[in-house]
């Protein structure tokens, strides 16, 4: 126990000692710039920053109480990033070498990210630990990313360096691990920083918490620039008086590309709140928007839910959200009720529901694929449930009283991108037919780093990206109806079924290919993870111990509770090639538990 406390010692001191002496003087970067606005159209990230640095806008970081803690203008960012790049050059790495950075919401992360680009290196963001008791599993996840990216350098600030050092042991490719402060101490190498080319890799984006098989999406400068241009010109129609506020983590594509890079390539200011601070007090995000008259702020549906659930009625009169013109919503399936409840609650605080801006995208397509029409709010369609299930066809509800499903319109692809829907054989199907959603265009990744097997699964001939999502097109607009069974979304987090099964298979009692994970929903749309294990244990004590251990492991890795069901061997359905079918496993579970009333199952899972 005391060792735990000793380990905590270093991180904790930072939380108290950090008190910038100039606190009284700092003011946020302004909304109005002195520089003529250029809406993306740059050929590389560093060229975009060179331009933004000529103005007076930039990034502002706020603490949990909403006080401004640090300001990083684009001008200062350029200066600091270039200075750090000189130090990175001292490592004499070959161009394109990977640099891992634990991405908390801090100026240091952004500086390092750009320093890497100035030095011709490829940065990637690693997550911060968020779950109770997750220490061991978190270190394993870091190890997985360091290993699969073959990173040469790894950075974490003082709060996370202990985890990083633990993870760095025995990673052969890694030359150096340290904090940004330690990097600043190193001598600057006097070299000219080479310009980047559009074909070079800009960054990697990890999409999975898997310890054995993490997948790093490879995004080139060209793909990034294309996607950013589509987002800011067509998706958001950014204007000179725009300002963003964000709590999205920098290690997610929406946080990084959407709310760090997109503002920079349009030279607008951003106000940041750490994800943790938002999660505990969502009101602070809305206060930032209100106080700084922010116009563009994105969230996952879950973030809106947190606001609706946890902001008190008495807080509403302090807010004026009438400035918020683009309330982007993406990153998971959007339920109309989430948006309606949010609008109901916050309309008295000036929130206009025509600000809702549903969009669809994924890291494998840099960030965005489709946007609904800006300024027109969200639109949804009521689809007859029976036809949807029987014929996999979307037909508008004709008569009242029939059962229906409601789906949110995610709009049309960005210019230069095409969306198609295909059947199980990969053949394109007509509008209104439900199938797998594929995307083609300039924003698509070149693949998963060093992972040809996964790349081949995702990238189809002619560079069509299989998104893994299910949906249909209706009058040219995209509607997402669900995920394929390999991804489970709980409380706004994408969890790969495979990652959960992998955790289970690491237990001595569980053999490989004898665990199947999937999600079940209750009527309110809440998802619970179910893990079914084929188990040979007979003693009740041993069986209970396995169940408890698995639940604890899943919690520590993913921060969610799950139902563990032990079944006898050969219960789980397999395909002809011997692979487990999650879809069939889920059907079997539903039958066994008589899940016509799914709610009762979810409740029993809370035990």
């Amino acid at each position: 126990m005391s060792s735990t406390i000793t380990k905590l010692n270093a991180p904790l001191t930072q939380a108290f000692d950090f008190q910038p002496s100039s606190e009284l003087q700092i003011i946020p970067t302004p909304t109005r710039n002195t520089l003529a606005q250029q809406l993306a159209g740059f050929d590389t990230l560093t060229n975009a920053l060179e331009y933004a640095a000529q103005g007076i806008t930039g990034y502002n970081f706020y603490d949990a109480k909403g006080n401004l803690r640090s300001v990083l203008s684009y001008n200062l960012l350029r200066q600091n990033a270039r200075a750090l790049a000189q130090r990175l050059s001292g490592f004499n790495l070959i161009r394109g070498s990977r640099v891992a950075i634990i991405a908390d919401t801090s100026p240091e992360f952004v500086e390092l990210f750009f320093a890497c680009r100035y030095a011709g290196l490829v940065p990637f963001a690693m997550p911060v630990p968020v779950n109770l008791g997750s220490h061991g599993i978190y270190v394993q996840q870091l190890k997985g990313m360091l290993d699969s990216s073959e990173a040469s350098l790894a950075f974490a600030n003082i709060d996370y360096i202990n985890f990083l050092e633990e993870a760095s042991a025995k990673i052969s490719n890694l030359k150096w691990t340290g904090t940004p402060a330690q990097l600043r101490e190193l001598p600057a190498k006097d070299v000219a920083l080479e310009p980047n080319s559009p074909n070079e890799v800009a960054y990697l984006q990890f999409t999975s918490g898997s310890t054995r098989m993490p997948r790093g999406v490879v995004i080139t400068e060209h793909a990034l620039m294309c996607n950013l241009q589509g987002i800011v010109r067509n998706g958001l129609e950014i204007k000179p008086d725009d300002r963003s506020a964000s709590w999205l983590p920098f290690y997610h594509d929406m946080g990084l590309v959407g709310l760090v890079l997109a503002p920079m390539v349009t030279q607008i200011s951003v106000d940041y709140l750490a994800t943790r601070d938002f999660a505990i007090r969502p009101l602070q995000w809305l206060k930032l928007i209100s106080r700084n008259r922010c116009t563009v702020a994105f969230s996952q549906p879950f973030g809106l839910k947190l606001c609706t659930m946890r902001v008190r009625e008495s807080d509403l009169k302090e807010l004026d959200l009438s400035c918020w013109r683009a309330a982007g919503i993406g990153a998971e399936m959007i339920r109309p009720d989430t948006l309606r409840n949010f609008a109901d609650k916050f309309s008295s605080a000036g929130f206009k529901s025509n600000a809702f801006l549903p969009c669809y995208g994924l890291a494998e397509s840099t960030l965005a694929v489709t946007f609904s029409k800006i300024g027109s709010g969200f639109h949804s369609i009521q689809i007859d449930t029976k036809t949807l299930i029987d014929k996999r066809m979307a037909v508008r509800l004709q008569t009242a009283g029939r059962k229906y499903n409601e789906f949110v319109n995610c709009g049309q692809p960005l210019p230069g991108h095409t969306v198609k829907v295909v059947d199980e054989n990969g053949l394109q199907i007509e509008e209104r037919m439900v199938g797998s959603v594929l995307v083609q265009g300039a924003s698509i990744m070149t693949g998963y780093y060093n992972n040809p097997k996964e790349t081949q699964k995702a990238l189809k001939p002619d560079n069509w990206l299989d998104t893994g999502d299910i949906g249909f097109l209706y009058e040219g607009d995209l509607y997402i109806t669900g995920r394929r069974t390999d991804v489970i979304i709980v409380n706004g987090r994408n969890i790969r079924a495979q990652d959960i099964e992998e955790l289970a298979e690491q237990q001595p009692e569980v053999r490989s290919r004898e665990a199947s994970a999937f999600g079940v929903n209750d009527t309110a749309g809440t998802t619970t993870i179910v893990l079914v294990i084929e188990c040979r244990l007979t003693s009740a004590t041993e069986r209970n111990s396995l169940i408890k251990r698995l639940q604890q492991l899943v919690y520590m890795a993913f921060g969610v509770n799950c139902i563990v069901e032990l079944v006898s061997p050969h219960t789980l359905p397999r395909t002809s090639s011997g692979k487990l079918s999650r879809f069939a496993a889920r059907q079997g579970y539903i039958q066994r538990t008589n899940l016509n009333d799914q709610l009762s199952v979810v409740e029993s899972g809370d035990r």
Binding site: L12, Q14, A15, V130, H135, D159, I280, Q552, M556, N561
Partner: protein, 84 residues
């Protein structure tokens, strides 16, 4: 002084935890928050907010990675409180 704080913290934690979870389990220092109380992410956020408000502290997110039992959480709070 710290000892006294720890007991107060422990008391408050046990009270809050028993209302947060419907579990019949008696809550002690060794109770595991994850496997025995099923503290999910929303409950955890509420708990942290209440702790921060009651003790006027800020709990760093990295510290929670090493917390599994009620005792570990109480010690963490007490340490942050006394460092104040």
């Amino acid at each position: 002084m710290t000892e006294c704080n720890y007991d107060e913290i422990m008391q408050l934690l046990c009270d809050r935890l028993s209302t947060l979870t419907s579990s019949e389990t008696a809550i002690t220092a060794d109770t595991n928050l994850i496997s025995e109380l099923s503290i999910d992410s929303i409950k955890l956020l509420n708990l942290i907010m209440e702790i921060e408000d009651s003790f006027d502290i800020s709990i760093p997110i990295n510290a929670l990675a090493d917390v599994q039992t009620v005792h570990e959480l109480a010690s963490l709070i007490s340490r942050i409180k006394s460092a104040h």
